[in-house]
């Protein structure tokens, strides 16, 4: 549980940098229905990276010390996710805007702390390097299903999630590149079918006519889009030295 002073210094610098982009966040019309007041509150607090690491210890039991979750999709990869996305989902889960019975008790203030804890832990998570071997769909590049998924992505997803699934920090759009296939598939289905209550209504509308096969093909494609090397851990065997 020891972090080198250099890393703390670096993290502080990054955290200050992050706080600028975070205050500029705009949730537009989506905000009215799905962004809890606590999201706004946490977004305007100065994150304490070191405390964030301590808070993350609770999360690490399921999301793993590296923040990689499970490649089978049981738990999502959190590492490298945008802070506003993480803050919003945490706040939504504990405000019961998003149903997640497994995570709910962990997200409660008694377990992880108040809005400041949300600000802190998300600063820590966003800086974690990603799993270089995320869970992927079954269709390799060159297969008809991969190509169809690529087309579906270009036609339906790229406007919000970006060319390579980088999302949008200001608009709370998640980074989906490098995420585990099975996790994305489950969330996509829940968004399409109305089970994910805090979904962006624009996305629900956009994907309403996707068949199950369409859904698998588009998620297969994005699960296979390579993530920038500097955002990845050196290997899938890398262990987070902050925890042992």
């Amino acid at each position: 549980m020891s972090v080198k002073p250099v890393i703390i210094g670096l993290a502080a610098a990054v955290a200050i940098g992050l706080s600028f982009s975070v205050t500029a966040a705009d949730t537009s019309s989506w905000k009215e229905k799905t962004v809890s007041g606590e999201t706004d509150e946490a977004m305007h607090l100065e994150p304490d990276y070191e405390n964030g690491r301590d808070v993350y210890e609770v999360c690490s039991a399921c999301h793993m010390p590296e923040g990689w979750g499970f490649t089978d999709g049981t738990f999502p990869q959190l590492a490298g996710q945008h802070r506003p996305v993480l803050i919003k989902q945490l706040a939504d889960i504990r405000a019961l805007n998003r149903d997640n019975p497994t995570m709910y008790p962990f997200a409660l203030p008694e377990s992880i702390g108040d809005a400041q804890a949300l600000a802190d832990v998300t600063a820590y998570i966003a800086k974690l390097k990603m799993n270089p071997e995320n869970g992927k769909g079954e269709w390799a590049e060159g297969t008809p299903e991969f190509e169809q998924g690529k087309k579906l992505y270009a036609d339906n997803c790229v406007r919000c999630h970006g060319d390579h699934g980088e999302g949008n920090v200001e608009k709370f759009y998640p980074r989906i590149e490098g995420q585990h296939y099975a996790y994305m598939l489950r969330q996509f289905e829940w968004i399409r079918d109305g089970k994910r209550r805090n979904a962006n209504p624009d996305m629900v509308e956009q994907i309403k006519n996707f068949t199950d096969k369409d859904m698998k093909m588009v998620i297969n494609y994005i699960s296979r889009v390579p993530v920038k090397k500097e955002d990845l851990a050196p290997s899938a065997d890398w262990k987070n030295p902050d925890f042992d």
Partner: protein
């Protein structure tokens, strides 16, 4: 992993009827059974503890299996092994869906029935 003992005995009994070597086979079965119980229990203790962490059970049930995250989550240390095994199987299949099971169902894809057995047997040995 070793074969479960009951299947092992059954197939050997069928065997001995065919070959009329009942005594020899019975002796062999007994030796095998003892060996598998000895090896089996050693494997289970190590596996059970490792699975309890790796499959994230401890996140909710506590590192000592008796300090649950929420006061209404069950304490598992020393609980009846077959009872725990049956709950795991039923929660995974959806046969049991009441109470707090929604919190647990989402993680059950991480364990198969052999791992549930190992977990249940190990948890039952804890104080």
């Amino acid at each position: 992993m070793l074969e479960p003992l009951p299947f092992c005995m059954l197939s050997n009994l069928q065997c001995c009827e065919v070959f009329n070597m009942r005594k020899i086979v019975t002796f062999a079965v007994a030796v095998t059974a003892m060996a598998s119980m000895m090896v089996g229990s050693a494997v289970s203790a190590a596996d059970g503890a490792a699975l309890f962490k790796a499959k994230t059970c401890w996140s909710c049930h506590g590192k000592d299996a008796k300090t649950p995250l929420m006061p209404f989550y069950p304490s598992l240390a020393g609980q009846n092994a077959d009872y725990m095994y049956n709950q795991m199987v039923d929660i995974k299949s959806g046969a049991r869906s009441n109470g707090q099971t929604a919190a647990m169902k989402g993680v059950m894809g991480l364990v198969n029935e052999a791992e549930m057995r190992t977990l249940a047997d190990w948890l039952a040995t804890l104080n």
